[in-house]
């Protein structure tokens, strides 16, 4: 074993160093994957904050509410829920920010669940 490592080290220093590095990279990816799996096994932590790329329909799906709830929360005045309109565009049109939209959505979702509970 040792003489093999010694022989590899004397003849192939660079590939041996590369091997050590790739193993370290595997370790980093592996621990990150495992810690994420543990973290997300708790469903409470699965709630995903709003981001600019999301669409109203997608947000409805993600927050488990009908898309109409999202539409009302964001004051989207179109008669039907706009297809594939990203929050970036909605924010630009309304002059709103992710924080205000998040607050309005959270309130609307809470109200929806309260109604549902009754």
């Amino acid at each position: 074993m040792w003489h093999r490592i010694n022989d590899i080290w004397t003849h192939h220093k660079l590939p041996a160093l590369a091997l050590v590095m790739v193993v370290a990279v595997a370790g980093v990816f592996g621990t990150r994957a495992i810690s994420q799996m543990i973290y997300w096994s708790n469903p409470a932590k699965l709630e995903q904050p709003l981001q600019g790329w999301m669409t109203p329909r997608y947000i409805g799906r993600s927050y488990d509410v009908p898309p109409e709830v999202v539409q009302r929360a964001f004051d989207l005045d179109s008669p039907s829920i706009p297809h594939r309109r990203s929050l970036d565009k909605i924010m630009a049109a309304q002059g709103s920010t992710l924080e205000t939209l998040q607050a309005r959505l959270d309130a609307a979702v809470a109200a929806y669940h309260a109604d549902e509970g009754q």
């Binding site: 003849h11 590939p15 990279v25 595997a26 990150r32 994957a33 994420q36 699965l46 995903q48 993600s62």
Partner: protein, 217 residues
């Protein structure tokens, strides 16, 4: 880069997915896995249709794989004499060709989805070593089917939290790719060390044989 591509996902939908999967098969650093997951999520929400998402991702991937293969193949035809002029380069290519001949199909298949980060490089190696194109195209088509169905499917199923599933899959596939590369490196290092040992032993035997008759005389 991920942020930028995601920002365009809602506006350009299916065509963007086609372009991004195409480019990712040429080893360009575009977040194709993330976009497939997000498009699957959009399909689940009703913003895109599932079949068009699948079709676009699949078409982009197949076109990308074969483009990578043909670029490398063209390069090989044109620079073959340059590759063969240097002994080391020629030997490396010969070894790669032998490997592809033995395990090429299965390598193409698994590097489409299980160890996806290695996929584009396998395309280039396949083209460079003269790996038969029909064999390449067939294994690539089979592997990409698994890749597209699993990523779009996971995006559809786990639409609740695309960011979480994307980051987890990224780490898992990075881990698998690193393990495969490490395994290959280790195998090669040990094999070449054993080869050196054998050569050394042969030299010692030869030397002692050469000495013996002199002693007898």
């Amino acid at each position: 880069m991920s942020e930028l591509v995601l920002a365009f996902a809602a506006d350009y939908g299916v065509p963007l997915l086609l372009v991004v999967t195409f480019l990712s098969c040429l080893a360009l650093p575009v977040p194709s896995s993330l976009l497939m997951l997000a498009s699957g999520g959009f399909a689940a929400a009703g913003d895109l249709t599932l079949w068009s998402v699948m079709l676009a991702a699949y078409a982009g991937a197949i076109a990308g794989d074969n483009t990578g293969y043909w670029i490398a193949h063209r390069f090989d035809l044109r620079f073959s004499h340059w590759l063969d002029r240097n002994k080391r380069r020629a030997r490396l290519r010969k070894r790669a060709a032998d490997y592809m001949e033995a395990y090429g199909g299965i390598s193409v298949f698994f590097s489409r989805w299980l160890v996806a980060p290695l996929g584009p490089y396998v395309n280039y190696v396949a083209g460079l070593t003269g790996f038969a194109w029909p064999r390449f195209a067939l294994w690539s088509a089979a592997g990409e089917l698994v890749w597209v169905c699993s990523y779009v499917g996971l995006g559809y199923l786990f639409a609740d939290n695309i960011a979480a599933i994307s980051s987890l899959l990224g780490n898992l596939s990075g881990f698998l790719a690193a393990v495969v590369v490490a395994g290959g490196l280790l195998l090669w290092l040990v094999k070449s060390s054993k080869l050196r040992e054998m050569r050394r032993a042969r030299r010692v035997r030869k030397a002692s044989k050469a000495r013996k008759p002199r002693k007898a005389a």
